[in-house]
């Protein structure tokens, strides 16, 4: 598939002497939602950090719209239109709810998302806009984190462990809001430990195990047994 929006090519990543990723090759097509599942320590977050430039790699290991971007800094990658909702929300604690959103929008990329449209999507963020972001509940903070990423009007949105540490009812409402968030034309990568949730919203699934892709395919092609085997390595 030559015209992938984003792809990684034999991506390897290291933390010091420890190798976390061993030749990961994935691709995301325009307007496609891809799920990446895997157990703790499978390398999902490392993969996200590599794509977004928080871990720098060889240039050709990450390709965006035909351009090798593996060695760019995270802020340069962000300007290209790759946004992430990081694991654990990671809001700026000294900024208010509204200021967190504005930081997301400060690159000035044009598109449908503005402070107003984000606040229309999550009316609560309008109501509580002057509150310090970390005074909100976990689910509300997740809304801020998603809104903050949307504010940059990205071409692809990376969700890293969006349901981690949240109540089931909150997770449910976030997944219900997901189609409206991703909307028309935006691609997304959803990183999850909750297999069923991830599979239900995605066009394709990659399963990682110990830093390698252990399984990939469309959700309807993959059996429960195959996913379990690829997930746990049994």
């Amino acid at each position: 598939m030559p015209d992938a929006l984003l792809s990684t090519k034999a991506l390897e990543a290291h933390y010091g002497d420890f190798q976390a990723l061993f030749g990961i090759s994935i691709d995301v097509q325009p307007a496609e939602v891809v799920a990446i599942i895997g157990a703790n320590g499978a390398g999902k977050t490392t993969l996200m950090r590599s794509i977004t430039g928080l871990i720098r790699n060889k240039p050709e290991m990450v390709v965006w719209k035909g351009r090798a971007i593996g060695a760019l800094r995270a802020d340069q990658v962000a300007h290209l239109g790759i946004a992430m909702v990081p694991e654990g929300r990671q809001l700026f604690q000294s900024l208010s709810v509204e200021e967190n959103l504005m930081i997301g929008g400060q690159m000035g990329r044009k598109g449908p998302w503005t402070l107003k449209t984000v606040q229309d999507l999550f009316p609560l963020l309008q109501e509580r806009r002057h509150v310090p972001a970390t005074a909100l509940s976990g689910g509300q903070q997740q809304m801020v984190a998603i809104g903050r990423a949307l504010m940059s009007n990205p071409d692809i949105l990376l969700f890293d462990e969006i349901s981690l540490g949240l109540a089931p009812i909150v997770i449910k409402s976030i997944y219900e809001a997901l189609p409206a968030i991703i909307g028309e034309g935006m691609s997304a990568i959803i990183v999850e430990q909750d297999i069923a949730k991830a599979v239900s919203v995605s066009h394709r699934v990659y399963c990682l195990q110990e830093g390698r892709v252990s399984l990939q395919g469309r959700p309807d092609e993959l059996t429960r047994e195959a996913i379990s085997a690829a997930y746990f390595g049994v």
Binding site: L54, A78, H79, P86, L95, Q106
Partner: protein, 287 residues
């Protein structure tokens, strides 16, 4: 009446100390960097002001138009080329590097200007004063400096809490990685913070040079005053820093009123008392 006068002059002096401290507080808040060379940059700015006033024949207040941007430029370059390389999990490298800078600046100034005390002349402005009821006189210059200090603190406060730049400062200060994900280049943001810090130093240096005589060796002393004002006021609180500066200035003047030899000692004692009673300062904002 002498006492009231001493306190009044002390308050005005406190404005200058707040200017010494504001830049120090700013960069510590944004990047947790303690700039040991801060005082020497103040002296550098004073010598820069001296050179500009004597060679171009400008009044010192006009010289600020040159000194402030030049200092800001030095700050940005220094941060991008040197200090960013030292920042990391370890707090020791930036301390050592700025200590080294302090030595370099002192000796550089000694080489160029010699150890003779210098002073920037502000002409008639130096002796102008306004009379207050009850036989009190306030110098126009100290009053002007205090007014500028309040304006600078208010301006920094506005930048920090109301502007896009301040938002970026706080975001990078909170979480550097995540701020990068939002498209903020932290190397550049840190550069801007240091530029702002040294711009304030430019002001402080020229004011210092007008107010008292100076020589290349007095930087570390100004650094201590700055530190004390920041700590008394509480870390991360700019208005607190102004109050810290005022407390320091008033204590010094009261000390001097008791005995001329006690001026500096009284300031340090006030600092120690605050530290003993309120270890985090009077109005702390950050831990």
């Amino acid at each position: 009446m002498d006492w009231i006068n001493a306190i009044l002059q002390g308050i005005l002096l406190g404005g200058l100390y707040a200017l010494f401290a504001a830049g120090l507080s700013l960069i510590f808040g944004v990047m947790r960097l303690v700039n040991i060379a801060h005082g020497d940059f103040i002296v550098l700015a004073a010598f820069l002001g001296l050179t500009i006033t004597t060679t171009l024949g400008l009044s010192p207040l006009l010289a600020l138009i040159l000194v402030v941007p030049v200092m800001a430029g030095i700050g940005y370059g220094l941060q991008r080329l040197v200090l960013n390389q030292t920042l990391g999990d370890d707090i020791l490298p930036p301390l050592l590097v700025t200590f080294g800078l302090s030595v370099i600046i002192q000796n550089g100034l000694l080489e160029i200007y010699s150890a003779d005390p210098q002073k920037i002349s502000a002409g008639a402005l130096e002796t102008a004063s306004v009379a207050l009821p009850g036989d009190l006189n306030i110098g126009v210059l100290p009053l002007l400096m205090f007014g500028v200090a309040v304006a600078v603190i208010a301006g920094l406060q506005w930048i920090f809490y109301r502007s896009a730049l301040g938002r970026a400062f706080r975001a990078v200060s909170d979480k550097q990685d995540i701020a990068q994900l939002m498209g903020l280049n932290k190397a550049h943001i840190f550069g801007l913070a240091m530029a702002l810090s040294l711009a304030v130093v430019g002001l402080a240096g020229v004011f210092l040079g007008i107010r008292t005589s100076f020589d290349p060796s007095i930087g570390p002393g100004r650094l201590i005053f700055g530190f004390e004002a920041v700590i008394i006021g509480g870390l991360g609180n700019l208005w607190g820093t102004l109050i810290g500066g005022i407390i320091l200035g008033v204590s010094q003047n009261i000390g001097a009123q008791i005995n001329p030899g006690w001026q500096l000692l009284a300031g340090h004692i006030a600092f120690l008392i605050v530290l003993a009673v309120r270890p985090r300062g009077l109005f702390p904002r950050i831990d």
